[in-house]
Amino acid sequence: MTPEPYEAQLLETPFHARTSSLCSTRQWGNWSGFASVNAYTSVDMEYFAARSTAALFDISPMTKYAITGSDAASYLNRLLTRNMEKVKPGRVVYAVWCNDAGMVIDDGTVFCLGENDYRLCSQERHLPWLLDSAIGYNVEIKDITSGIAALAVQGPTSSAVLKAMGLVGIENLKPYSLTEFDLDGHSLMVSRTGFTGDLGYELWIDPGAAELLWDRLMEVGSLYGLRPMGSEALEMTRIEAGFIQAGVEFFPGDLPTRPDRLRSPFELGMGWLVDFDKGHFIGRRALLQEKKTGSRYALVGLDIEGNKPALHSFVYQGKDTEVGIVASAMWSPTCKRNIAIASLKTPYHKDNHGLWVDVYVYRELKWERIHASCKVVDKQFFNPPRRWATPAGDR
């Protein structure tokens, strides 16, 4: 039973009995109103499981909408900037959607489960926007967040783990594809998707079978280094992969209370998701205009001198011209570089000379100020061939 609002601040996911018994750091976070493990034992080791063996992450709190009805495809084509006509059943796509001003409301993944049968997964909740923009379409939109239990299995041995669990032929599943298996009479959907930028899968099942799925994975996974991972380690892999995050790289939809804080798809490096040839979609006119007149901002990767993360630092050019801000930053253990994702004013992202950040480090009762030069690089810092290889490798 879901507790009443007065009874609990955070809800439990279908895996809570398992995750809570393994969470030895006792460090939990709030993910969309659900208790989500920040770290089970050690952030570093969980991160390295994702990069060297395999990591198991509870993604049940992700907001999920079922979008069905005879107009579902054409509705999504109006809502999203990318062309959904090309997306066939069994495929998953990454997408963004905008308001009329061409500013991003959110990003997410769209699973095409069948003809006019979709699932939209996003970070934030958007029911009013989704329903309002559906007026006139024969389409049903339902929040199904609590109705599905989901786990991400990510890392180089993830395919081997699923194979060992009896998912025959899983290695042949292509990136951004989905398929169904039977797990002791329960329907298990598996998609080759994830948020780590590595080989990985997401598993979707009826909440009643959640613990069965968890136990089965952990049992077979022991030979392959499978280890539960909390959200702090996931965040590290997310930045290395150069994925953007709502509330970090952009502030979703109509929620910011200050002007000029929104970003368009072009300003987030998502121009490739905008298809002007598919007919009308929300924000099209504004985006066409932006294409003509130019964007205000560019989202870039930065390679920063030294090893101190430049989180939320100003980015300067030349002597002291302020040209942007760092949204995400970390020392990348895999790339051995001090990386960041930053929003720069155009055209400073093009002139790769004289950029620097100011990093403040607090050490034993003293602030130390580090003037670190940096350069603009591809923000996909980590993108190994094994992520894209089909059949997927074993290790």
Binding site: T41, S42, D44, M45, F48, R51, S52, T53, P156, T157, A160, A164, L223, Y224, G225, N307, W331, P333, T334, C335, K336, R337, R395
Partner: protein, 529 residues
């Protein structure tokens, strides 16, 4: 005949590091390697189907992050994965584990001594202080205290300034630290034998000293001053074995246009008019270059690969007296499953890191006594790990690769040379010792590679099988390494350089000697990078 800009002798990690920096700066460089494979002592080989060994060096920490970044080693295939603590199994059936979590660690030490549990923080702060002091010197050419060149004076001044910056008390401590024994150092903090025994292991690795020998405290520090991702003192595995370190260096080098030739043994460095002009290979072929850079240890370079007439006698005399005593052996074992260690509780992750059986300082010192007597330790120090618990590429699922570093093992035995029979007896000593703590261990062995100092020398060329290319004692460090007056990577012959671990800052898979040598060479070439 082609004349290369530079010839590097030996495709060890330092040779490849120097070569990659030079090639990156635009030089035409060839690396010559005696073996049919590269890596020197930073090597991974498949000697049993499905298993990859780290045949010599086996863990990674010291490799300087600056080098990884400069040469883009991650992009060229290097991934370093830290491991979680370690464990010493005790003769009384108990165990002592270490954990990355501070409070877990404190409570574990407290099981053995409440005093030591809290003293551990003082110990940690002191080693960190010493590491911070020395870290700046690693990628710096040691200034010569007898020279009046501005760069030497400035270098000395910088050290002096940082030294004085430590404050009075820590200045005294630092001086003492560099010469004291590991036992004296640890006695300042700890009372528990097993805690000291566990920590003292790194003070003897690769060194023909006991934990009670003066100078051994520095060796302990040498193993602490590495880092994994900014976490000082952490150790990790190179994914794919240590060969991934040399492999990524080779890839980086080749991406800058460098050339590697394997199965090319250098017999002699050719000197004409006091200038190195090339090398003669064992087949008689000559390779010519505008300079020659040796990654071999100093004895192998100057005493075995050069005509003595080409070298000053004083220099050669000092080279011959350079301390490079072999002290260690290695077993690489393919296992059919995970061995049981009944004294380590299930769920204790210490077993994913370094495992030992030396539960006291005396245990270690007695092992050293055997070495002095010209035999391998009857109760050996064992640094044992199972990398396949962390790295799935080392062994098939469910099977495991075990790396066992062993000390003390003398290069020459009291009863004569090493031979196959003695090697087998040495291997048996080690396997029997492990089996005392693991009842099913022997049944799981599929294959074992046993390496004595003799084997290590024969294969990698390291004199006496000394893993550091020369001991890390105060008389052989900094401006005295390898030979006073020749610590700045230049040999007494023009256009001949040294880039191996015989030079500052010494051994371990650090790459710093190679990077420092490259910087000096580029300085001589007036190439700005």
């Amino acid at each position: 005949m082609k004349v290369y800009d530079a010839i590097v002798i030996g495709a060890g990690h330092n040779g490849l590091t120097t070569a990659a920096y030079l090639a990156k700066a635009g030089m035409d460089v060839i690396v010559l390697e005696r073996q049919p494979y590269i890596g020197g002592a930073t090597v991974s080989r498949e000697l049993y189907p499905g298993f990859t060994y780290s045949n010599c060096s086996y863990v990674c920490s010291l490799m300087r992050p600056e080098i990884m970044r400069d040469l883009e080693l991650p992009r060229h295939g290097l991934q370093v994965i830290p491991y979680e603590g370690g464990v010493t199994m005790m003769r009384n059936g108990d165990y002592f584990a270490t954990y990355p979590n501070h409070d877990q660690n404190r409570r574990e030490i407290a099981r053995h001594s409440a005093h030591d549990a809290e003293a551990y923080d003082y110990f940690g702060a002191e080693t960190l202080r010493q590491c911070r002091f020395i870290k700046k010197m690693l990628l710096t050419t040691p200034p010569d205290p007898t020279s009046f060149k501005p760069r030497d004076l400035f270098g000395l001044l910088d050290i002096a300034r940082r030294f004085h910056g430590l404050g009075e008390e820590w200045m005294y401590d630092t001086i003492r630290f560099w010469t004291m024994s590991c036992a004296d150092f640890l006695d300042q903090y700890f009372e528990s034998e097993v805690v000291k025994g566990h920590l003292a292991g790194t003070s003897i690795i690769g060194t023909a000293l006991g934990p009670y020998s003066p100078g051994s405290a520095y060796v302990l520090l040498h193993h602490y001053m590495g880092e994994v991702d900014g976490s000082i003192g952490s150790w990790g595995y190179a994914r794919g074995g240590m060969g991934a370190v040399s492999g990524s260096l080779a890839n980086s080098f080749q991406s800058y246009g460098g050339e590697i030739r394997t199965a090319a043994e250098v017999e002699q460095i050719i000197v004409k008019n006091n200038r190195a002009v090339g090398v003669a290979l064992s087949g008689g072929e000559e390779v010519l270059g505008k300079m020659v850079i040796s990654n071999m240890d100093v004895k192998r370079t100057f005493d075995k690969s050069m005509d003595p007439a080409d070298l000053p006698e004083d220099f050669l005399h000092r080279v011959r007296n350079f301390k490079i005593r072999g002290s260690s052996g290695k077993l690489n074992i393919a296992l059919d499953g995970l061995p049981d260690f009944p004294s380590i509780p299930d769920g204790c992750r210490g077993r994913t890191g370094d495992m030992h059986v030396s539960d006291s300082m005396e245990y270690l010192e007695r092992g050293y006594d055997d070495w002095k007597d010209g035999t391998w330790s009857r109760e050996p120090y064992i640094d044992m790990m199972i990398p396949s618990l962390t790295d799935p590429t080392m062994a098939p699922p469910g099977k495991h690769y075990m790396s066992v570093f062993v000390q003390y093992v003398p290069p020459y035995l009291a009863d004569g040379q090493w031979n196959d029979e003695k090697r087998a007896a040495f291997g048996k000593t080690v396997i029997d010792k492990i089996a005392e703590y693991s009842p099913n261990f022997k049944d799981l062995i599929l294959h074992a590679e046993v390496r004595t100092p003799w084997d290590i020398e024969n294969e990698t060329g390291l004199t006496e099988g000394n893993i550091f290319q020369g001991e890390l004692t105060m008389d052989q460090l900094m401006f005295n390494r390898p030979v006073p007056g020749y610590a700045q990577y230049r040999a007494p012959v023009k256009n001949l350089y040294m880039c191996g671990s015989s030079t500052h800052p010494g051994g371990g898979v650090m790459g710093a000697p190679g990077a420092n040598a490259a910087r000096e060479i580029l300085l001589d070439m007036r190439i700005k990078t």
